[in-house]
Symmetry: D2
Subunit: 262 residues, 4 copies
Amino acid sequence: LPADAAMRAAPDFLATGAVVIDLSAAFRLLDPQVYARWYKEEHVSAQLLPEAVYGLVEHERERIRTARLIANPGCYPTSALLPLLPFVKAGVLESGPVIVDSKSGVSGMGRKVAPESTFMEINENFRAYGVGTHRHTPEIAQELAKQAGNDVPLVFTPHLLPLTRGILSTIYIRTALDVGACNSLLADAYRDEPFVLAGDGVLPETAKVSGTNLCHCSAFPTNAPGTVVLISAIDNLVKGAAGQAVQNLNTRFGFPETAALV
Amino acid sequence: LPADAAMRAAPDFLATGAVVIDLSAAFRLLDPQVYARWYKEEHVSAQLLPEAVYGLVEHERERIRTARLIANPGCYPTSALLPLLPFVKAGVLESGPVIVDSKSGVSGMGRKVAPESTFMEINENFRAYGVGTHRHTPEIAQELAKQAGNDVPLVFTPHLLPLTRGILSTIYIRTALDVGACNSLLADAYRDEPFVLAGDGVLPETAKVSGTNLCHCSAFPTNAPGTVVLISAIDNLVKGAAGQAVQNLNTRFGFPETAALV
Amino acid sequence: LPADAAMRAAPDFLATGAVVIDLSAAFRLLDPQVYARWYKEEHVSAQLLPEAVYGLVEHERERIRTARLIANPGCYPTSALLPLLPFVKAGVLESGPVIVDSKSGVSGMGRKVAPESTFMEINENFRAYGVGTHRHTPEIAQELAKQAGNDVPLVFTPHLLPLTRGILSTIYIRTALDVGACNSLLADAYRDEPFVLAGDGVLPETAKVSGTNLCHCSAFPTNAPGTVVLISAIDNLVKGAAGQAVQNLNTRFGFPETAALV
Amino acid sequence: LPADAAMRAAPDFLATGAVVIDLSAAFRLLDPQVYARWYKEEHVSAQLLPEAVYGLVEHERERIRTARLIANPGCYPTSALLPLLPFVKAGVLESGPVIVDSKSGVSGMGRKVAPESTFMEINENFRAYGVGTHRHTPEIAQELAKQAGNDVPLVFTPHLLPLTRGILSTIYIRTALDVGACNSLLADAYRDEPFVLAGDGVLPETAKVSGTNLCHCSAFPTNAPGTVVLISAIDNLVKGAAGQAVQNLNTRFGFPETAALV
């Protein structure tokens, strides 16, 4: 269901006693005014937003276990938040914007039939899109702010890759930590997580996680003191969508978290 | 010729009275110690470095007209410097690192035969490489510093696209200018240039400049006040290599600058 | 113009005294009933068909020089007829069907926006289409029959390649000639042709002729006595369309045949 | 193991009492002289050839159940034999060569590092290779002859697709059957087979069987009376290699044939 349909359908599903795990963006943004501004439509089920739980299992596991309404994260936000949140939670980001430069395969568009989704336009081409306007921007910003306790300035630039599946995000942060400390922070944060491989210093590649529910992320040095690069790779159709929804389902109903996912 | 061979061959060519337009990196870095550090070899023709002219025609046209030794710019530096230099020259960059997130087609590797250049490794895959270590980093930094009059902190991250030709660079700058002013600055800087299409607010795409000597670049807004995105696209095999060399040749010998290029 | 529009527009153009070089299929089939059967529409300008000249320059050069109406060949027929016609003219085909197994890049569809033209459907996929029903079938058959003096049974199977430009046709013929004799026949037929490289025994590749008006074709041995394989490669957008139209224009108006094409 | 290594290793494995399912070509050709001619090496374990069973489960199931040495079929032969064998067994092929025009993804080369396996050579390119000389030719011919009771003239032409996985074979046969009868024959032959979807008249596509152990094949009409086209699609890495090996293992040891494969 697209966000506008899911927003309308969720109350009826919940009324039956069902738990709703929503793959659309309908219940990801907690503030209905932010929703209205980015999705160009009033939120008709705003009364449900206070109880909606953002389904990034690695950071919301306890709340998910008892949630009625779970908002499965967007694909880009998943790729950005998994590497970023440990730094936000540890309070080690210096002032200055977090820059998320993301590149996605074409399946991120779904099966849309339009001039910009034709093979002729995408093959042997590369471009950015939605610069400064992509709807995943407020979703990433909201989750950073939630964990930071204050707004984190965010720049998010999505690009379209000439391949079918995968998202790679290259993220620039300001921190006094050196790369080794950054990777230790990542490794510690995700040591017990079955679906996050973090802090190993190996360059992530989209093909390496294709078809899996894994996020691979690590920190790398730059030539500018105080700036570190984080790179993450996911399969947008699995960890960025249906796989993460199954992970939420497993978490919510007490199944092994990896059931049907490995 | 690779840099090590060009470095050795140039003196003999010059001794014959020839003008040398070098496509390698041998004479791009003015400081032989910087060369030695990044290219892992002593520079054996360091005596020529003071007279080598960096062949970015749009910014060095007058010096090129009388040069004996012209160092044709690297492909990534071309894509980064054309959008950045007008801001550096105008003195409108605020403190903080310039971030250059670049994505290149496979022809940037040349015809190298290695596991990482096989179709199996590149098709349906995307990854960064040379993070913090790519040799084009000091070249970009040198030209920024030359025009700025001081060092400009630089982060440069190259990535490998699953396509044959093209580079797209997404560049994050700190400036008090709004996007309109940024685009005016770009448009004014390149108004009379035959090979730079700048400041039009249209998203550059690699396919749109493929097979041409054009650089298309423009500024775009972000959601972080004080940060602007610049995006540039070139064909790495033309404006990023052989085409720019012809442009240098035309400039040096007084031919029309666009001869054989349009 | 598509065939139905070109069919309607041509008489008015001709009435002005203009020469018409038509890139559509409107005037390629000499028999209006064959046209009606394959294009599902009556031919409204059937009176022009007797004077239309099939614009395969290598085989119709003299008639083209004085034609009022030139039907530029289809892309697949160009790739099939150039290798086949020397064998037909020499009368060396044995009985049995000629089999043309063709593979085309996506630009053969034009810029159609439809589910089957999306990147998601074409990338990492390969399939045949229009098996037994493709409209280029009667065009190939007509030209074979014209040169043979009798019908030549024909099987034509087009396939869709996940790339932008190029057609490769693999053609199976029955002949008593050995491969060496086949290649001599091809080489002799096209020795003085600027746009056909034939009979060299080198495997044609679409990338080798991309962006050119060339057809590369050659004969190869099989393990079945009496069967020879012919393989041809063209760029469907040049020799298969606009380039061949320019070649027709050059021929018709007495310009050097290669003008604007090399 | 490559064929030369497998040929040497198999006797030792068998001596331990193990069953050998060999993915190489070492035991596919029953005649050691044919092996020597096509593989350019004497067969050093020719004494094992009489007991080797060709592991095309759909046609050798009973012999596989008790075999000590199973030769897993090649990828191209699998794609050719599954559609062809029902016609051979039914005795409905007319005289004249069977033509197999096959197109394979790059993974058919394995992870070979060579100029012809680089992205630069394969992307946006299409070509035939091994025309008249590919080693799968005698393997296909042998199995056709075995079921026909006599030699069947065969033409086999492999091509290289710019994609990772999948083989599509377009096969031209001479038969008095019409297409409907051909599809009935295919459907009847494979009605109870879990891994062959046959005779439905739907055009096979490589992407539709990607990642599965399925072969999809069907018959289609041509414009040449007496000639029918068969088209098959498999994933060369599954039904064409490892998946079929598991199917052989399941069959040999009495596991459900689809275990670990669906």
